[in-house]
């Protein structure tokens, strides 16, 4: 097309003219109009990414179908039903427990005169920085048999046994303490956004504060509680580290053992499919619940400082409640890790810190962050700028990682690698591929959110001033969404640093990462060796999280 560069932007309009108006023929005319409006390459890139995200699930299915007898046996085995039952018990208990802790905490830190409530708010989010295997390790070391607590009780009181931590009890407690922040964050965000007028209207209609909370505030929080509970349920379902260390046989632990020790790959694939099915059911349940509650809390943030509830004589109990939760979820793990680190240093332990593992972790995480952000851009752009069936479908596909536990993604890619890509099997490429699939939803979410803030007219203005479409995107849109891109990259980086099951399965042989070396140390109860890398992971994740929580305040 011999158009001056300045007119490139009008390509869109030109393409819509009827045939025979003088424009040269191009294959793009065969495409439907709505597909033509965005450069084809963008659509192709988005489709490729969505396809790639679907790959692990596809290969799990293929692998299971290949030996369908073994697979079917595994699926209908009574043992599978038992695993399912154990998983469901754990999910229900952890979700309920998280809601019961998180909703009061969120309300206390937003609406009341709880002393030091900003500090409590930060402390209530920080458990997210603790990988589940680190949390489990800390609890085993503190409260397990021959643990610190028992040691302290033994000398003065002669207590030789404390209630057993392993199994459902321990897994429930540890997972509640590590995952309640998901509910805390969603409920807190909604509490800030709720228009105070709702509650004021109820009060002026003659209703008491308690009636108002029960009939107005709480129902308006249901969607937030549901969204947070879904995150907790999925986290519990996909968790590998905590259930494995606490010896509670849920899907992830059984699948790993089938694959790793029994080398029964067909049944591992089949169980992974069941696991995926459970995850998808959870998402559908939440989506169904949300559809019934079609309302949304007012999008416009509260304009006025809302009335602060005076706790009065409830100040002390409320403070104690916040204190106990923070002590258990944050204090215990940090204390235990520091304790072991100091003991290790004092004992002159060698190999306290594994710099090779740190180097590998950082390297893989940077690859993962860059690759995931690049992969997320086409889907994010299309879903924001060209909302429609295809872009919505592509966006859905990118959410596979949300539903798919790391162990299932890892296994799916193992099967794919062994059969079709031996060249990259057990190399960093396939591992980074797994990270991209797992963390794509996080990146798409962050980039989408920042793209929604960009007025598309800005790009059009740039094009009408003579910039090409791609140039306009790079010079106008990208600088504006840079904070979103950066946030996406940081989140993916941190999640990759902590990721365990996929790294265990797909990691190049002999290249330890922080996560896998903590895992090895923990499995062997080599607490001193796990302490330093664990503390590093926790601190590295805690820093940006603190920043995010504090910014929540200043942005209002």
């Amino acid at each position: 097309m011999n158009r001056p560069p300045g007119l490139q932007g009008f390509q869109v309009i030109g393409e819509q003219l009827p045939a025979g108006t003088g424009l040269s023929w191009s294959p793009r005319r065969l495409l439907p109009l709505w597909l033509r409006r965005e450069p084809l390459s963008l659509w192709l890139a988005a489709i490729a990414v969505a396809g790639a995200a679907a790959l692990p699930a596809l290969y799990l299915a293929t692998r299971a179908a290949d030996s369908s007898d073994t697979a079917l046996d595994a699926i209908f085995d009574p043992d599978t039903a038992a695993i399912l039952w154990r998983s469901i018990q754990l999910i229900v208990l952890v979700t309920l427990g998280s809601v019961l802790i998180a909703v009061p905490l969120a309300w206390l830190t937003v609406r009341t005169d709880l002393p030091f409530k900003r500090a409590w708010a930060v402390a209530s989010v920080l458990p997210l920085a603790i990988p589940s295997y680190v949390g489990a390790l800390a609890f085993i070391s503190a409260f397990g048999p021959k643990g610190l607590l028992q040691g302290w009780l033994e000398a003065p009181f002669g207590i030789e046994r404390i209630p057993d931590l392993y199994g459902l009890t321990g897994a429930t407690i540890v997972l509640i303490l590590l995952s309640y922040p998901y509910v805390f964050l969603t409920v807190r965000a909604t509490l800030w956004r709720l228009e105070p007028e709702m509650e004021e209207a109820s009060r002026s209609l003659g209703r008491s504060p308690w009636h108002t909370f029960r009939k107005i505030t709480l129902p308006l929080l249901y969607p937030a509680i549901g969204a947070g509970a879904l995150l907790v349920a999925l986290y519990t379902l996909s968790d590998f580290g905590a259930v494995a260390l606490l010896q509670y046989d849920t899907f992830t632990r059984v699948i790993f053992n089938e694959y790793n020790s029994a080398f029964n790959r067909a049944s591992a694939a089949a169980l992974s499919l069941v696991l995926l099915g459970v995850a998808v059911s959870l998402i559908l349940i939440e989506a169904g619940a949300r559809r019934r509650a079609r309302y949304y809390a007012g999008a416009n943030a509260a304009r006025r400082e809302r009335r602060i509830v005076q706790l009065g004589r409830w100040r002390l109990p409320a403070s104690v409640f916040s204190g106990v939760v923070t002590f258990l979820a944050l204090g215990v793990p940090v204390f235990v890790l520091v304790y072991w680190l100091v003991r290790g240093i004092n004992a002159g332990e060698s190999e306290l810190f594994d710099f090779t593992a740190l180097y590998n972790s950082v390297q893989f995480s940077i690859y993962a962050a860059v690759a995931t952000v690049i992969a997320a851009v086409p889907i994010s752009v299309l879903s924001v700028r060209r909302p429609g069936l295809l872009s919505a479908g592509l966006e859905r596909f990118s959410y596979v990682g949300f539903a798919m536990p790391g162990i299932a993604v890892g296994l799916g890619l193992v099967f794919f690698g062994i059969r079709y890509a031996t060249a990259i099997y057990q190399t960093v490429f396939l591992l980074v591929f797994a990270y991209v699939v797992l963390f794509l939803p996080v990146a798409v979410g962050a980039i989408r959110a920042s793209l929604l803030q960009v007025n598309p007219r800005m790009e059009e203005a740039a094009m009408s001033l003579g910039r090409s479409r791609i140039n306009a995107f790079l010079t106008v849109t990208v600088p504006v969404i840079r904070p979103g891109l950066a946030a996406a990259a940081v989140m993916v980086f941190l999640l990759t640093m902590k990721e365990l099951p996929a790294t265990l399965i797909l990691g190049p042989i002999e290249s330890r990462t922080l996560a896998t070396s903590i895992w090895t140390a923990a499995e062997e109860a080599f607490f001193a060796r796990a302490a330093a890398p664990s503390l590093l992971l926790v601190v590295a994740s805690a820093a940006p999280m603190t920043f995010l929580v504090l910014r929540e305040r200043s942005s209002r």
Partner: protein, 373 residues
């Protein structure tokens, strides 16, 4: 009204009195900023008071204090003869017979229209009352809808119905029409005024729109800087403003210096006419207020002004004229007469009615801030 079905019995039924709402010396300070200062008002049963003022004048704070959503610092608020707030005592919003309709309606999004309207009612007789009130606001048959399925105007009426349902002694409306588009607004405010009058509800209504205040209010209160400048019937607030602020705020007004020459009051645009017995202040500058329709323009090369701008408004032109003294005035003339920008014009004051005079920002002779109501 006692004993009707569905009425929530508020603590201490109103003492019989003609005054539904009385605020005396009410003041409120937020973090050192005075929001409301020495606010006095009296509203009789069934009256609609329109509080109007520029944004930030504290009118919404007044509403919130009457509703009990904000505590006052000093002063007293009485509703139906019963004191609900003084500096030491604060009756909660749920214990006052006051209903408030918020600017953005604050409908409960998770409840149907009926459940919203019945929210403040006791179970006994609730359904009947809901049907009755929905009919009053013209929304019969929409009870099972969710608020999100209604138009802006309908949501507004649901909010009103919800508040009217429990028959409050005083109804408060906070900028109720600001979320409606212009075309809808005029229709809705006529409807709402009719509903309020039919229900006989004492109402305090807050707006920043003068036209709305003049239309809606039995009484118009002009508020500025946390204080009431003037309260009176709409006509008097418009035609006999107590201060030059009220004059300017309620409608376009120009002020021309007046020379007192014995009995004659002379301005740059000719003599002004005062009420009989007018006594100009001694040794203080006097100004006459003129609204755009108080002037008569005629093109003339001998004129004492030049047209510098012309705004076409359909039925009329508004001209901005620069007088020889440099003063700018605004004159409205029928559209039949079209004068070009740059044309010299002869300007005169209409002589068919007496004008208002001001000295030091206050009307001369003094107009009482609290009119006879």
């Amino acid at each position: 009204m006692i004993g009707l079905p569905g009425i929530r019995k508020k603590r201490g039924e109103s003492v019989q009195t003609d005054i539904a709402l009385r605020c005396t010396g009410v003041s409120k300070t937020f973090d050192g900023t005075i929001a409301v200062e020495e606010f006095d008002i009296e509203v009789k049963r069934g009256q609609i008071l329109a509080l109007v003022g520029p944004s930030g004048c504290g009118k919404t704070t007044v509403l919130r204090m009457i509703a009990g959503l904000e505590a006052l610092d000093t002063g007293r608020i009485e509703i139906g003869g019963e004191t609900v707030a003084t500096s030491g005592r604060h009756t909660g919003p749920d214990k006052r017979s006051v209903g408030i309709v918020f600017q953005d309606y604050a409908l409960f999004p998770h409840m149907t229209v009926s459940a919203n309207v019945g929210f403040g009612l006791d179970r006994k007789g609730r359904d009947e009352r809901v049907v009755e009130v929905l009919e009053l606001v013209g929304l019969s048959g929409l009870g099972e809808r969710l608020p999100s399925e209604l138009s802006g105007g309908q949501q507004q009426r649901v909010a009103l119905a919800r508040t009217l349902a429990s028959r409050p002694d005083v109804l408060l409306l906070d900028e109720p029409f600001s979320n409606l588009d212009a075309g809808l607004r005029e229709r809705v405010r006529a409807e709402i005024r009719e509903i309020l009058k039919a229900a006989g509800t004492t109402t305090v209504f807050v707006t920043h729109d003068q036209q709305e205040a003049l239309f809606m209010g039995d009484l118009v209160g002009v508020q500025v800087g946390g204080r009431i400048e003037q309260v009176d019937i709409p006509e008097r607030v418009f035609h006999r403003p107590a201060t030059s602020f009220v004059a300017r705020f309620m409608g376009m007004a120009d002020f021309l210096p007046v020379n007192v020459l014995g009995p004659r009051l002379v301005t740059e645009v000719g003599p002004a006419r005062a009420i009989p017995g007018f006594e100009p202040p001694q040794d203080a500058p006097l100004q006459v207020m003129a609204r755009p329709d108080d002037f008569v323009l005629a093109p003339s090369d001998e004129g004492q002004g030049v047209v510098i701008d012309r705004v076409f408004q359909g039925w009329a032109y508004t001209y901005e004229v620069e007088l020889n003294s440099g003063l700018h005035i605004h004159c409205q003339m029928p559209h039949l007469l079209s004068i070009d920008v740059g044309q010299r014009v002869l300007v005169n004051l209409r002589r068919d009615h007496p004008q208002m005079f001001f000295s030091d920002g206050a009307a001369v002779p003094t107009v009482p801030r609290y009119g006879q109501t």
